[in-house]
Subunit: 132 residues, 3 copies
């Protein structure tokens, strides 16, 4: 995680390889990139609930690297691809377990495509870093 | 409206029922969830102009609950579903009446689907709470 | 660029003509509107790489008007229309030249439509204004 001269912190574990940071922080605010449900071997589960849990597992790691957690997420946008009517109830169940007691603002839409046809959702978060 | 221990304020009038808050506030910044044009009986008008006015009526209530108003909106994203060429001019007219003299930054795109096929737009705002 | 009474700065060179500002600033944070690849004569190149460079040229002007630059962008969302598989690699190349050494968080999705069928991407930025 690099601090640059303008008070912006960037989390770029791929060191420029992606062309973007997985998250940035300015002041107390953290912006994550859209996250997808790939595991450590770049696989995506065929089961949407498993895929969605992987998305939030991945986001948990990003938030932790930025010094925050799901309890401090203030806003989220979820971009779906595929059968929205079937996917959304599954997503709601998974999300409920992640944000119980501290729900962020949220926007969920179905888009035309995500970068990989295996992805059914891409989730972008805004969080705040808790003051010690 | 609950204040939690991390300085995040959440507006969740459904008390967890939606799985997300209608808005959150951190510092002076308010994030709304994507809002749609349902009225108090969960109906959606067949007339897009009426639907769009309902969206902004609903958002007015959310902003008021967070201590702010349309004059303090800094950013908006509008997600359209349906005939974008026909809907956008109608939307522009409605929006003009809402933001005259204090236009936010704005992004308008047509997506594949919104959560309910009756919805023609979902609108997400970022606002600032005015200092007294 | 007008300062209003609530500490919100708006960049609206069309003076209300668009119905939105090209950017707003509150505190140190700048929000741009979704920007497209139109040149000064409102033309859009048939060549995606040229179109994408125009998008970033336009955004450079907006950021400069707000007192900031690409080095201080913390988040971006890119909405694509058309053949996502063909467009994204071209976009990555162009973006790499813009953000080398200071990559923002980023989300890229394919939507159903942008406002004009000539547009292949619309890009929205969040930036911070550097302290002197």
């Amino acid at each position: 995680m690099a601090d640059d001269t303008n008070g912006i912190e960037r989390y770029d574990p791929f060191d420029g390889g992606l062309g973007f940071s997985l998250a940035t922080r300015v002041g107390d605010i953290v912006f994550t990139s859209g996250m997808v449900g790939v595991d450590g071997e770049m696989n995506v589960s065929d089961d949407p609930a498993t895929e969605f849990r992987q998305v939030f597992d991945n986001l948990a790691g990003v938030l932790e690297a930025m010094g925050t957690s799901f309890a401090h997420v203030v806003d989220m946008t979820s971009f779906f691809a595929g059968d929205f009517d079937a996917l959304y109830p599954v997503y709601e169940e998974v999300r409920k377990g992640v944000f119980t007691g501290h729900p962020p603002a949220s926007t969920s839409i179905a888009v035309a495509r995500l970068l990989d046809p295996r992805f059914h959702v891409e989730v972008k978060l805004t969080a705040v870093v808790p003051r010690p």
